[in-house]
Symmetry: C2
């Protein structure tokens, strides 16, 4: 598989990062994961807008390269039309210390993978080991600081689950370890607002634009839901159970219709 | 300058990291910064214990190598006796996705730098952009997820300050962006407990062992303190002002005595 590193295409195992890269040393960077269908990157503008917003906030310059072309190059060189892409942007090399260099020279890595099988419906746990930090702007940026999600996913695995649902510091539902969460209540789709520590997911925004309601969700509501599913850029995933309690099956057609609209065949 | 990468000594600019390293892609790792005086690594056992505790919690195997020897090798090859060392341990390469591989092959990087000049006394701000997450076990691990500290330090710089003090989600004082905080009240040294989101600093523990008191600190207390200083593995740093309000000078001899005890000349 070929990757793009700072604008050059090269074999993945030749793509090496400087050991002084602040992405490696301090998690100082961000990323996007995108879905490719029939050779088109779905919701590319929304992904690039989120990237630029996050980079602007962190003060990481976005390379002048034509990002859509670079993404397209990675797909073509690998002969992929049904795929996923990951774009990683870090602040690049820096001297020791927390404060970033005044004129960073960022690192841009683009990798791809063939389309994976859809994720099967998930048994979930509510993470008890960690919480999302709704007081940090990082909860609104897809940053490289992913250890809370990793810890939560490890907890899910250790408890026999597939995914973890994270609460925020106030004890309300925020999101899953690598997905947003939607709950069916009174026939409506409900999802926690960004202010609760939910990542502003690109798919989440598309579902909200189709009428889902943003409001706070208490953990107790999950046990009364008429259905629950998770959303990420790569697809929707029905929730079968939470902490061992069965969740009702999603109303017929809701997931099929949403998936069909958001990931056109 | 030579560095140690997975047990091999090589020039820093030849030490390259795989672009699939989870430390780079997800901040999946931890580090230690250590102070070297007269060729000895100060409080080495405490640093290695914290590293092993964090690695154990995250499920990252600590390489079987003799870590003190590897650290010593980096000092000798660079001819350093007054220096600092940084040891970075990541989960190494992994497949895509949040869940770690079952049998990770970690990456171990050790770098060094000559002794730096002591940090001058600091003008501080109380960060308004972000908070420490006392609900996350990451607040008790020196992980690679350093973006909250970076954001806080950028805020300090943008407001003309040298360092940022971070509050926790409950609005109480946790620590500085890369240091613990000590406040003099009624002639006693007071520092926020670990449960408030303070990193369990090695120097912090040494000061507590010498009689400093651990208890919650409200931001308002900072303006009544008889003195404030910051502690890190590399030294103590007096606080001159917070949010533009002058802080009384530290009582004579307290810093000199502590520094002399913790960093013997």
């Amino acid at each position: 598989m070929m990757v793009s590193l700072n604008g050059s295409l090269l074999p993945a195992d030749e793509a090496r990062i400087a050991s002084t890269d602040r992405g490696f040393l301090l998690g100082d960077g961000l990323f996007e994961t995108m879905c490719v269908r029939h050779g088109s990157i779905l919701r590319l503008d929304a992904h690039l807008e989120r990237l630029r917003r996050g980079a602007g906030f962190l003060g990481i310059p976005v390379p002048a390269d034509d990002l859509p072309s670079l993404l397209g190059d990675v797909l073509s060189v690998n002969g992929l039309v049904e795929a996923s892409l990951r774009l990683t942007l870090t602040r690049g090399r820096g001297p020791r210390g927390v404060l970033p260099p005044a004129a960073p020279s960022p690192t841009l890595l683009i990798t791809s993978a063939p389309k994976a099988a859809p994720l099967p419906p998930a048994h979930c746990v509510i993470a008890t080991t960690t919480r999302r930090n709704e007081h940090s702007p990082l909860s609104r940026i897809k940053s490289l600081n992913y250890l809370d999600a990793i810890i939560a996913r490890q907890e899910a695995a250790s408890r026999g689950g597939d995914e973890a649902i994270l609460l925020n510091g106030a004890g309300r539902v925020a999101e899953a370890s690598a997905a947003n969460i939607f709950v069916v209540e009174d026939g409506k789709l409900v999802t926690p607002p960004i202010s609760e520590g939910a990542l502003p997911g690109v798919t989440r925004a598309a579902i909200v634009a189709r009428g889902a309601v943003e409001r706070s969700v208490a953990p107790a509501e999950l046990s009364h839901a008429q259905g629950i599913f998770l959303s990420s850029s790569l697809g929707l995933r029905e929730v079968l159970s939470i902490d061992g309690l069965a969740v009702p099956a999603m109303p017929a057609d809701v997931l099929t219709e949403l998936s069909g609209a958001l990931w056109p065949e």
